[in-house]
């Protein structure tokens, strides 16, 4: 009885901001809305209780929507009155009344719930009218307070799975997974029943045909080894040039280097923004652009990998630079070194080894990406891969997969060993 309320030595507290109240309530309302929608969707899936159109839109009879809105509203009110709902938890709030035993508290919670109907239901009039202590709180004596900070705890809190918000989270998670299962059309039965269908494919892949391993395929004018070398070079050049540019740009994208002046911070923000935008565009899209720009072939693929490498490495480099030990920088500034000397002698020695490791790793990734980039005209081994795939020549595809696998594994192994040495 005592425990639940007096988990903290709550002193007099500043009033809860109105936005926190309103947000927490709407959060709860939408959570209940989501649960209601998901439940109906699932019910429909199994028992056809409602009509869901091809776009996944739920169609209810005319009285259905008000019922859903009111029901979810009631549920949100209930969870607000009876404990720590997820919405309150997210805003760091909880309802509390000092020094009451359980039945009395339950009575207050009920009163809180009922009073909410005259306070919140008519467009929240009781909240707008007195934001610091809304009508329903005044009527029930149950107040919304801040969740106690860790330092204020005097008894351990209940385990998360025994709290209301914990259970709500779990329910949402469960519902989402179940919904996702249906939306993505997962059918285990089909997975098992169809296993024999790609038999010819399996047959081809497991019996690779290495005819054109070294000799050129006359149709493509290229061999597997030749195309692989092309891919590796694509990746190599993209990595080297990309890393060079990323290295220079990374200083502009490191907060600890740029901080101190407003223009510095603006450059920092811009650099990071460019990194993030360019990184979020997949290299295959870049390849599409460059294939039109410079024509199909390895050049387009290299450019695509290059752009993506700048963005990806630039971000990694910048973050690494932000995490260096500031001590040596201070020491070098103290000897009378200029800003650029501080970077040369304080920053660079600290970041070069991890940068090398990142760069090797990136080369690794680029070799793998180089195969995919060919799908839209990037050249390299991928060109052979997609050509044979279109011919349904699975044995040759199998040979390419083996070759790629071997090269990637080898690179991975080597770069892994080298990285171990460096860092």
């Amino acid at each position: 009885m005592e425990r639940k309320q007096s988990r903290s030595r709550s002193a007099e507290q500043p009033p809860i901001p109105l936005t926190a109240r309103v947000l927490s309530f709407f959060l709860d309302w939408s959570i209940w809305g989501y649960i209601a929608y998901g439940t109906v969707y699932l019910l429909n899936h199994y028992w056809y209780v409602a009509y869901i159109d091809w776009y996944g839109r739920l169609t209810l009879p005319w009285w259905g929507w008000p019922v859903v809105v009111i029901a979810t509203f009631e549920l949100a009110l209930l969870s607000h009155s009876f404990g720590h709902s997820l919405g309150m938890r997210a805003m760091g709030l909880m309802p509390a009344a000092e020094g009451l035993d359980r039945p009395a508290l339950r009575k207050r919670r009920l009163r809180h719930f009922l009073a909410s109907h005259i306070s919140i239901m008519p467009l929240g009039i009781g909240v707008w009218a007195s934001p610091s202590e809304p009508w329903h709180e005044r009527l029930s004596g149950l107040r919304l307070v801040r969740l106690p900070q860790r330092e204020e705890w005097i008894t351990p809190p209940p385990r998360w799975y025994r709290t209301e918000w914990g259970i709500m989270t779990l329910a949402i998670l469960g519902l989402t997974v179940t919904l996702g299962w249906h939306v993505t059309g997962i059918h285990l039965r089909v997975l098992i029943a169809g296993a024999a269908r790609p038999a010819r494919l399996w047959q081809g892949l497991t019996h690779p045909d290495f005819t054109f391993l070294i000799y050129s395929d006359p149709w493509l004018n290229d061999s597997i080894v030749g195309a692989l070398i092309e891919s590796i070079f694509m990746a190599l050049l993209a990595t080297i040039f990309g890393a060079g540019i990323a290295f220079v740009l990374s200083f502009f994208g490191a907060r600890n280097i740029m901080a101190g002046s407003l223009p510095g911070l603006i450059v920092y923000g811009l650099t990071r923004g460019v990194f993030n935008i360019f990184r979020s565009i997949e290299s295959i899209l870049w390849a599409l652009i460059f294939a039109v720009w410079v024509g199909w072939g390895p050049f387009a693929g290299t450019l695509a990998l290059f752009i993506h490498t700048i963005a990806a490495l630039g971000k990694l480099y910048s973050e690494q630079t932000e995490h260096i030990d500031p001590g040596p920088l201070e020491a070098i500034a103290a000897t009378g070194g200029s800003r650029i000397e501080v970077i040369r002698y304080g920053v660079v020695p600290q970041i070069v080894p991890p940068f090398l490791a990142f760069t090797l790793y990136r080369w690794d990734i680029n070799v793998r990406m180089a195969t995919v980039v060919a799908l839209v005209g990037g050249g390299g081994i991928g060109r052979l891969f997609f050509y044979y795939k279109d011919q349904l020549d699975w044995a040759k595809v199998g040979a390419i997969i083996v070759a790629i696998g071997l090269v990637v594994w080898l690179l991975d192994y080597i770069s892994g060993r080298v990285r171990e040495k460096i860092v």
Binding site: G327, P328, E330, A331, A334, T335, G336, E341, Y345, Q350
Partner: protein, 255 residues
């Protein structure tokens, strides 16, 4: 004219609005070994860093040999920093660089930037580095990476780096707080030697009163960013001690 003069120095950290230094004024003559004592958070590090402006003071002035450091533009300030050596509690070496590279960094203020960027230091600086390392007894560690050294050795590299500057003033921010008592004494003896033989004025923050008494020619005590004591080591009696360190404090001897 005093060697170093601090005039109404105040520092308020923007973040958290902390008053770290509150109207501090004192002066130091050439050849003094001045020890700063005070509890953690009393403002020792802030004071030392305001002198060479690693931290910009909020108000107040700092004079070195009559020149107002606090009024200098950045370019000029760097020329003056060459004369002010500094060693740190956490040594502040570049851990992945060699001992030699760390020591040579002490010459950055003297060698033109175009040369240092290529890593080409003049021959006499290499010779100077050799002598500095010999002096702190680390000649054989010249090409070892700094992170391979023990704490005491790292601090000796820090001293060698300061020696390279041929400083007139040495700022030491708790140089021995991360070290054991025996090593502490060996480090402080190097500072004492610099002070006595080379005539370097030393400003050294220390935690232990026993160390302060043993090495300081004068002691300044800070508390909450203000000077609460200034005088010779022998003047600190029990009452003074309690005033500086608080009622519950006990003296700890470091031998």
């Amino acid at each position: 004219m005093p060697h170093l003069a601090i005039d109404h120095l105040t520092k308020i950290y923007e973040r958290g609005k902390v008053l770290a230094l509150d109207d501090v004024s004192f002066s130091v003559d050439k050849g003094e070994f001045l020890v700063l004592i005070g509890l953690s958070g009393s403002g020792k590090s802030t004071l030392l860093r305001c002198i060479n402006r690693l931290i910009e003071p909020t108000s107040g002035r700092v004079f070195l040999d009559g020149t107002e450091l606090t009024a200098l533009p950045q370019r000029e300030l760097r020329r003056w920093r060459r004369k002010i050596g500094m060693i740190f509690q956490q040594f502040n070496l570049v851990k992945r660089s060699t001992v030699l590279a760390n020591v040579l960094a002490g010459r950055l203020g003297y060698v033109p930037t175009a040369r240092t960027l290529l890593g080409r230091f003049p021959r006499e600086d290499l010779e100077r580095a050799r002598r500095a390392l010999e002096r702190v007894g680390l000649l054989e560690k010249m090409f070892v990476r700094a992170d391979q050294l023990s704490g005491g050795q790292q601090q000796r590299v820090g001293i060698a780096r300061a020696l390279m500057q041929e400083p007139e003033l040495l700022l030491a921010d708790e140089p021995v707080s991360a070290l054991d008592p025996a090593t502490s004494h060996s480090i402080l003896k190097y500072l004492e030697q610099m002070n006595r033989q080379d005539g370097v004025t030393v400003l050294c923050a220390l935690h232990f009163l026993s160390l302060a008494r043993r090495y300081g020619t004068r002691i300044i005590a800070l508390k909450g960013g203000r000077i609460v004591f200034e005088g010779s080591p022998s003047e600190i009696d029990d009452a003074k001690f309690k005033e500086i360190y608080g009622e519950e404090a006990e003296q700890v001897e470091v031998r």
